[in-house]
């Protein structure tokens, strides 16, 4: 990249840029990092990428009486640093998230401070330059980083959910507003994740859910797929994240693990079924953590030892253990992602650019 010729009259003015950035901070619009100050000509370029009316409401939060229109989504996406052509992905990601019951309910205000996890599939990944390989959870790539950030700014500004006020995260979590994976379809042995969300093969589509955190499974120790699955199951089965009778945990498999499992003849569905069968804890384990009793679906500390020997499974269906393939094919490191509530099971197609 050539440096700007600062002697030219049309060179960018850093002092004006800094003043504009501070203006945005002063109005409490920022998530803590500098914003791109949005102007009407810039936002018009975003709006030109969609056939939707700028006044169309794309999400609302009943309890705070706020909604987000296509126009407001565009302003926030521009401020997040998106390029205009990313906007259809932002709209699809937001729509996918608003399919989540937790996101329509109290999720954004929650003490758990959940992070959206956005998964992009199809040709749009390449067209827009999404990172589909190493460092899938970021950072370093503009489309991945800014699409996720745009969602955070929409929640903050359009919905008015700000930290310490209507947002009450106890600790929050690393990666909030920054997780946008583009699936590594090229090195995945299985159909794209968007097909699990009901979209035909080859569709550019976005899926999303809310996470409470992520935990790695580093297993470069064995060539036995069963051992890898046991290792993943152990991580999924932790008591700390278990608050209800059942839970939901996704697995973002690295290509190496995915290929190993597929090489052993396992389809994605078979991996999910294996995990449903093997993830869980004994009554004694749960009692030790004060989580063995059940009132309806809520766990509580029950002194009763009668069920100590009993093994309780925790994943009720394949939708509760979605599997995505992402990252580089350079080490056998996968990620368990702890889902807040449950994934809607739907992927949203990215609308074709209308220009």
């Amino acid at each position: 990249m050539t440096p700007f010729d600062t002697t030219r009259a049309d060179a960018p003015d850093p002092d004006a840029a800094q003043a504009a950035i501070e203006y945005c901070y002063d109005r409490d619009w920022s998530d803590g990092l500098p914003l791109v100050p949005a102007s009407q000509p810039l936002v018009d370029r975003f709006l030109a990428t969609t056939a939707r009316n700028p006044d169309e409401v794309v999400g609302e939060l009943e309890q705070v009486g706020r909604n987000c229109t296509v126009y407001l989504a565009a302003v926030n996406a521009a401020m997040a640093g998106c390029r205009p052509e990313y906007f259809p992905v932002v709209l699809a990601a937001f729509e996918a998230l608003m399919r989540e019951r937790a996101a329509r309910g109290g999720g954004w205000q929650s003490t758990s401070g959940p992070a959206p996890m956005i998964v992009v599939n199809g040709p749009v990944r390449r067209e827009l330059g999404f990172n589909t390989a190493g460092g899938a959870f970021g950072p370093g790539f503009r489309p991945n980083a800014t699409v996720a950030r745009a969602i955070g700014l929409i929640v903050r500004n359009a919905f008015g959910i700000r930290p310490h006020v209507l947002e009450q995260a106890t600790q929050g979590l690393p990666g909030r507003w920054s997780i946008c994976l583009a699936e590594n379809e090229e090195e995945s042995p299985w159909p794209p994740f968007a097909e699990d969300g009901g979209q035909p093969a080859g569709t550019s589509a976005v899926s999303a859910t809310l996470l409470r955190t992520c935990e790695f499974v580093d297993n470069r120790h064995t060539a036995d797929p069963d051992q890898v699955l046991w290792d993943i199951a152990d991580t999924i089965s932790r008591t700390g994240s278990l608050i209800f009778k059942e839970t939901s945990a996704g697995v973002v498999l690295c290509p190496e693990h995915a290929q190993m499992l597929a090489g052993a003849g396992l389809e994605k569905k078979a991996v999910q079924e294996w995990l449903i069968e093997h993830c869980g804890r004994t009554g004694a384990d749960l009692r030790r953590a004060g989580k063995n009793g059940l009132r309806g679906i809520a766990r509580f500390a029950d002194p009763d030892t009668a069920a100590d020997e009993q093994f309780s499974r925790i994943l009720p269906s394949p939708r509760h253990v979605p599997i995505v393939v992402a990252g580089a094919r350079n080490a056998a490191i996968s990620m368990v992602v702890r889902i807040f509530g449950e994934w809607s099971g739907t992927a949203i197609p990215v609308a074709e650019v209308t220009r």
Binding site: P37, G160, Q168
Partner: protein, 181 residues
């Protein structure tokens, strides 16, 4: 002339907090008053409100005529539920606001009942004052008064819950009555 920097919030200064929400008239005392309890499903909310109701009956001569559970604790109480309780009760107690969304929503419910003509006392954990106040402002009732109990509530034993209910009782009575009237 340079372009304006666009506002990403969609709000205008005119929408800023002004007291627009009505406040229901208060009775002088709770003697003979019918009390409705709106329970939000948070752990210990039901025994807490039950005990407040029991004490209001025992010490103030009120009658608990209705206890209802709000299934979605994050959302405002459904309209038909507000209507049903308004028809059958003189005053409302709602809570326990013990999480990010349900504290805000307990206060929102209190304000909704005020608008329907019923004095309401929302009870929140004191860890959630800021979010409860922010919701009151959003609902057009900045400074809306509610009762607080020390955080946490969910881990209290049944005896501790009863003690907490007794502690907050005076505040609840003060919120629901206007002894100067």
């Amino acid at each position: 002339m340079p372009n304006q920097i666009l506002d990403p919030t969609g709000t205008t200064a005119a929408q800023a907090a002004t007291a627009t929400a009505p406040r229901a008239p208060r009775p002088k005392t709770l003697t003979g008053a019918t009390v409705g309890l709106l329970v939000n499903t948070k752990q210990n909310a039901a025994p807490f409100l039950d005990e407040v109701g029991r004490l209001l009956a025992e010490r103030y001569g009120a009658t608990v005529t209705m206890a209802r559970t709000k299934v979605n604790f994050a959302a405002p109480a459904p309209e038909d539920l507000v209507k049903e309780m308004t028809t059958n009760c003189d005053v409302i107690i709602t809570g326990i606001g013990d999480c990010g969304s349900c504290s805000a929503s307990a206060v929102a419910d209190g304000i909704a009942f005020e608008a329907a003509g019923l004095p309401a006392a929302a009870i929140c954990s004191d860890a959630f004052r800021v979010t409860a106040d922010a919701m009151a402002e959003l609902q057009g009732a900045p400074g809306y008064k509610y009762a607080t109990t020390p955080h946490p509530v969910a881990v209290l034993t049944p005896d501790q819950v009863r003690a907490r209910a007794a502690q907050v009782l005076d505040d609840v009575v003060a919120l629901l009555t206007d002894s100067a009237a």
